[in-house]
Symmetry: C2
Subunit: 143 residues, 2 copies
């Protein structure tokens, strides 16, 4: 409980990507693969952020077979982490990015870890450019 812990907690929550992870976990624990699918950053990047959040006492992990689920840490090893989690719950709920993440979060939760992983860490979306590249037969050259 020194400056070191303070700095670790504050720098952890200050990063926008880690803040997004924390806001997602406010809705309950999530599998790493689900976080990857929602945030759309590389697996190693998400993994690294989760490590930092864990070190700061902000999240905890639960291993379940080959999956690892993360959730907000209620045990609160750090008073700074505890307070910041509390603050965050009332913050940024109207933010554009956070709201967009919440929509994707719902899709990821509905699908579950298994389907997300099977799809290669992507969400099952309807009408997405990357997912359904419009297999029209003769759409090109109809002009």
């Amino acid at each position: 409980m020194s400056i070191r812990d303070y700095e670790q907690a504050m720098k952890s929550v200050a990063d926008p990507t880690r803040m997004r992870i924390l806001k997602l976990l406010e809705g309950g624990e999530m599998c790493v693969c689900q976080l990857i699918a929602v945030i759309e950053l590389k697996q190693s990047t998400i993994s690294r952020h989760l490590l930092l959040l864990k070190r700061a006492g902000l999240v905890k992990e639960r291993k379940d077979g080959k999956w690892v689920h993360y959730s907000l840490d209620g045990s609160n090893s750090s008073r700074y982490a505890r307070k910041m989690l509390q603050n965050l719950k009332g913050w940024l709920n109207d933010d554009r990015i956070v709201k967009k993440d919440r929509i994707r979060e719902k899709i990821a939760r509905d699908a579950g870890p298994r389907e997300i992983c099977e799809r290669g860490m992507t969400l099952p979306m309807r009408r997405t450019a990357t997912c359904c590249p419009a297999p029209r037969k003769e759409a090109v050259g109809t002009r």
Copy 2:
């Protein structure tokens, strides 16, 4: 009031040097020269930190002749800044560095901006290694 403001406020308070400045200002407004004398970093460095704190809505300035006094910003342009100032007041009061700063803070406040500036941004201290370098005659080579 977006992620941008959030990030600015959080990153501002996360830095240990800026945290020290905020903890000093909890005791009331201070002149830039006093902050320099207490923290012992170069004038340009302190000035830059103050700029970042001001941008984040954490501190405000008051110009008084050739001196500039900074204080915690009660007007609170940023909700994040407001909350973090409140949090900080209950945090780190037992920290070694913060306590040491408080001792130097008292000396700086007692002396006032004028004397601090006249001394070249240093504190009037008795028995300090840097101030009184022990003028022993033949301490070297006694072995």
